[in-house]
Amino acid sequence: MDLSGFRDPEIARGLIDAIKATAAKVGHVKLMEVCGTHTVAIAKNGLRAVMPANVTLLSGPGCPVCVTANEDIDVAIELARQPDVIVTTFGDMMKVPGSYSSLAREKADGRDVRIVYSPLDAINLAKKHPDKQVIFVAVGFETTVPLIAAAILRAEEQGIDNFSIFSAHKTVPGALAALVNDPEVQIDGFILPGHVSTIIGSEPYEFLAEEYKVPGVITGFEPVDVLQGIYMLLLQLAEGRAEIEIAYHRGVMPEGNVVAKALVEKVFTPIDADWRGIGVIPGTGLGMRPEYDAFNAVKRIPVTPPPPKEIKGCQCGEVLRGITLPYQCRLFGHGCTPEHPIGPCMVSSEGSCAAYYRFTDYGRE
């Protein structure tokens, strides 16, 4: 399948012209790209620079590592400090500072912390080390949750009893509700996450259009995809419509992935979740059902980390809500860089601060 058209400069130029023509029909609008992968795509392809002056692109709370509360990172660290434990996680989680330490620092101190590409790698590790407890520290949104559920079911089927999950998962639509209800935040349209929507479909966002009259477009990740999403949002605003549309049709069905949703439902149940910068949002976390306690790391190995504390001066929370732009933070580039990150938005490769720092000529924006 040839998807190179979604990177075609000619098509991109056409869309940029269309965006400019359509933007001329609306006032100053703020569009939020919810997903960290979009933040990177926009920064890497220089799309902010080609936007008309009246279109502002804001980065949202869609970087799972960035929105993970210190308290959860502290639990992961505490788990790594237990005897006979191997903690595994995605690479992005390693350097994220909790209140007192990070998984990378724990590893440097001799704890067994390993980066894996997939939870299946963690299962294989558990098979190889039957004398150790292998814990997968799971952060992520709806994109990632189904495969964690599938991994748990695989481990159950294979009778593996030394593999467990620490679930710090979060779900996106409830966070968007919190943002549109926040009087400090002003968003005229949402560039909705493509791969979260691959799983959940378009229905869970309908309330944005119906109740709040804020349009949204489910958007893919190639440069042409992103421009298409922005164009469709501007069209809606220009025509006075508020709908949830799918631009990323090749990867998203309106109903989502029904098989994946059923697996999530089987293993997880909604709980309240603490989002960095936003606070507790009811029902936006996913806890494991009691039937799966045997695979629940904090049930198997209860830990009590010291009380969490916030990172001084870091404005990651404001950045995640679109109130502060990364370069408006006093630490940005002055002590906080991807090499020496102070806050999570600079740590994660998908964090807004890291994306701005690496790809944007931020001084001139």
Partner: protein, 83 residues
């Protein structure tokens, strides 16, 4: 982190696993979430699992529409200048 990469299913193997080709690199992925995938399909791969079978028809149709957007926008622009 919600990155998912298109890959072609090369062979379907035991236990809902498949060998897929990701731009020339072969990887084993689980088909637990897309049991309908068959050999030759393109799937979106995320962290060792296939999330979705990519709809090629939609992809090609989208590109065709996008190619025609500049003309459309120009027409719109002209229409609006008079408004």
């Amino acid at each position: 982190m919600c990155l998912a990469i298109p890959a072609r299913v090369v062979t379907i193997e035991e236990g809902h696993m498949a060998s897929v080709d990701i731009m020339g690199v072969t990887r084993k992925v689980s088909l637990d979430l897309t049991p309908e995938a068959i050999e030759g399909d393109f799937v979106l791969v995320h962290a060792g699992f296939s999330l979705q079978v990519v709809d090629e028809q939609y992809a090609l149709e989208t590109l065709e529409i996008l190619k025609s957007i500049p003309d459309f926008a120009e027409d719109e622009g002209i229409a609006l200048e008079g408004a």
